[in-house]
Amino acid sequence: MEVRGPLIKFGVLEKLLNLARANSLWPMTFGLACCAIEMMATTAARFDPARFGAEVFRPSPRQCDFMIVSGTITKKIAPVVRTLYEQMAAPKWVIAYGNCAISGGPFVFEGQYNVIEGVDKVIPVDVYVPGCPPRPEALLEAIMKLEEKLTGYRRFPTPERRW
């Protein structure tokens, strides 16, 4: 099915707006488990995401741009995740941080009855960050990947292999 574009195309304005959005991504605190501590360590003084504009952690979903789902999604919390995602104002993005959010993580075993294997079974995800828990630098890289998804430019060049 072909999705028709908007009636009025903005072109350059859309690019500028995307640039503005990329430089001022406001995350929503959705720390569930161990990865939440690494998320908190990212917001602390050493790996400050405020440099990139992602400083203001708003608790209310209506005022944030993207949601960092960090931690295991169990069946009890899945409806809450869905509600929060739907309450967010467009344009919105989701980062699945940590192995549990990507695919259930180390808690998937035969006969398991409570873990949902990956948050992308509940809400659409834009960036996946593997690790258990991923380092804070990985979260910063995820934010930069999200910016690249918006604007098409990478903020810092990827280091190249030299061997």
């Binding site: 720390g31 161990c34 003084a45 180390p106």
Partner: protein, 522 residues
């Protein structure tokens, strides 16, 4: 002593008492009790001043066995009361009138095993939810009968009186307690009742243990309490070593002590930052995390991980020390001693902070005893009980830490206890890094399969007493594994204490308890 008096009394009641071997099993005496007399026995324990540690259940297929663990602050010897239950008629009188802390344990056993407790006021779901239609921890898949299902879904939140209303806190908190949902019954601005809803992070740790081998299960112990994972690791590893009678080399014990104390300091620093974030001050969070990063750098150089270390192994450590670790610890101790001035200036003397936490959330000694509260929550209320002193493990008998106690029992006292504990941990570290003995860091041969039997091991995490109960049947997978989580009992004490407080005070009290939700939800 107290235990002997109690046991004489119980023998007089006609109960069968057997002595257990502490070095192999973890408790001193086994008391077999028929199921109708459990309330009498509980009252006898209560009279002598015992506190309830844990209530757990083991499914032996042809019978269910309930274990009640009691312990005493002055005479810290664990006594275990066993009740055998027939699965066809699983009804046991509840002891929650005597020990209210058993209330939540009994709810958990009800929804996981199907044992009904007569006289319990509220046997509704604690961890699980409506979609699950079997008792998860039973060995065979036993479906839930109709009337039990009705009992499990019977919690009701309609306003009972005119001016009372229910308010919901969480499960998404900006103050990063994790996913805890508190349903508060309010009358105006005052809380009448607090009903926590747990289970949002229930990751089936205990069921997983029955499907994985001991070595495969071990990394999960770090995911239980991710802020202080080494205490849980030590618990698991220590239990297996106790069960198989393994003698861990000295070098490994001392290094374990060093890393455990570093972990304790890191956990207290994180608590400090988030507690003040709850109260509204955002700056100490950054200072505390800066200090914590220094510790994490050291641990990362040693273990390779920043948060969920899998460093211990059954019989020793994963790897020996790297170069520069001990010098790094010495440098860190020097730096940390100077940082206390910042915390004292910014936080301890801050008049708004003092007014928010003094006389707020006072937990009296008796409440703490009946609910089984441990850790700084207990030590802030005037009880000098610390597992590192009463049941020394790792190298704590060589470097005994001083126990910090304050008498007031309010949130300010708990804050001061934790701040002092950081100082005491620094003293233990100073001694320990001088005396690391040479030698192997791991046992050469560890048995492939453990000895069949049961074992209990307790350690002191930054939150309180962690306990693990393992039943091994001789194969390489555990038969039953149960964690005793300190936050679980502390939160139960909180629901008692929060009645009549304002919401702001409830937030301050909750923050001062230092809860970590996944260790509660397991």
């Amino acid at each position: 002593m107290v235990a002997e008096e109690l046991l004489r009394g119980l023998e007089g009641l006609g109960l069968e008492i057997r002595e257990a071997l502490y070095e192999r099993q973890g408790f001193w005496f086994d008391i077999h009790c028929p199921r109708d007399r459990i309330v009498e026995v509980a009252e006898a324990f209560d009279e002598k001043g015992y506190w309830i540690e844990d209530v757990l259940c083991v499914d032996w297929r042809e019978r269910l066995e309930l274990l009640y663990h009691f312990n005493h602050w002055e005479d810290p010897r664990r006594l275990s009361v066993r009740v055998q239950v027939d699965p066809a008629d699983p009804e046991v009188p509840s002891i929650c009138k005597v020990f209210p802390g058993a209330g939540w344990h009994e709810r958990e056993i009800h929804e996981f095993f199907g044992v009904r407790f007569k006289g319990h006021p509220n046997l509704a779901y604690l961890f699980l939810h409506d979609e699950i239609d079997f008792y998860p921890l039973r060995k065979d898949r036993v479906p839930i009968p109709e009337e039990d299902k009705r009992l499990l879904t019977s919690m009701d939140f309609s306003p009972e009186e005119e001016d009372a209303f229910w308010i919901n806190m969480g499960p998404q908190h900006p103050s990063t307690h994790g996913v805890l949902r508190l349903i508060l019954k309010m009358r105006g601005e005052y809380i009448e009742r607090a009903e926590p809803v747990l289970g949002y992070m229930h990751r089936m740790q205990e069921k997983m243990a029955e499907v994985r081998t001991y070595a495969q299960y071990y990394p999960n112990t770090a995911r239980l309490d991710y802020v202080g994972p080494l205490a849980f690791s030590q618990c698991f590893v220590g239990a297996m070593e106790r069960l198989c009678g393994l003698e861990v080399p000295e070098r490994a014990q001392v290094i374990r002590t060093i890393t455990l104390e570093l972990n304790r300091i890191a956990s207290h620093l994180l608590w400090l930052g988030t507690f003040l974030l709850d109260l509204g001050a955002t700056t100490p969070y950054f200072f505390a995390f800066d200090d914590r990063e220094q510790i994490l750098d050291l641990m990362e150089g040693l273990t390779g991980a920043r948060l969920t270390f899998s460093f211990f192994r059954i019989g020793g450590l994963y790897e020996d020390l790297n170069d520069g670790f001990l010098e790094g610890v010495a440098r860190f101790i020097e730096r940390m001693k100077k940082r206390f001035q910042i915390y004292d200036d910014l936080v301890t003397g801050n008049i708004i902070f003092v007014k928010r936490t003094k006389d707020v959330g006072v937990i009296p000694r008796e409440v703490a005893r009946r609910y089984g509260a441990t850790g700084p929550t207990l030590r802030g209320s005037g009880v000098a009980y610390d597992v590192r002193r009463s049941e020394p493990y790792a190298a704590y008998s060589d470097f005994p830490p001083e126990v910090v106690v304050r008498q007031e029992g309010d949130s300010y006292a708990r804050y001061l206890v934790r701040l002092e504990e950081i100082k005491r941990s620094l003293m233990v570290l100073e001694q320990a890094i001088e005396r690391v003995p040479e030698g192997p860091f791991r046992l050469q041969k560890t048995p492939k399969k453990p000895v069949p039997g049961e074992v209990y091991f307790a350690t002191e995490s930054p939150r309180g007493q962690v306990g693990i109960y393992i039943v091994s049947d001789g194969t390489d997978k555990p038969y039953r594994l149960k964690w005793r989580s300190p936050s679980f009992s502390n939160l139960a004490a909180f629901t008692e204490v929060v009645k009549g407080q304002l919401i702001a005070d409830a937030v301050a009290t909750l923050g001062s308890l230092d809860l970590v939700i996944p260790e509660m939800d397991r």
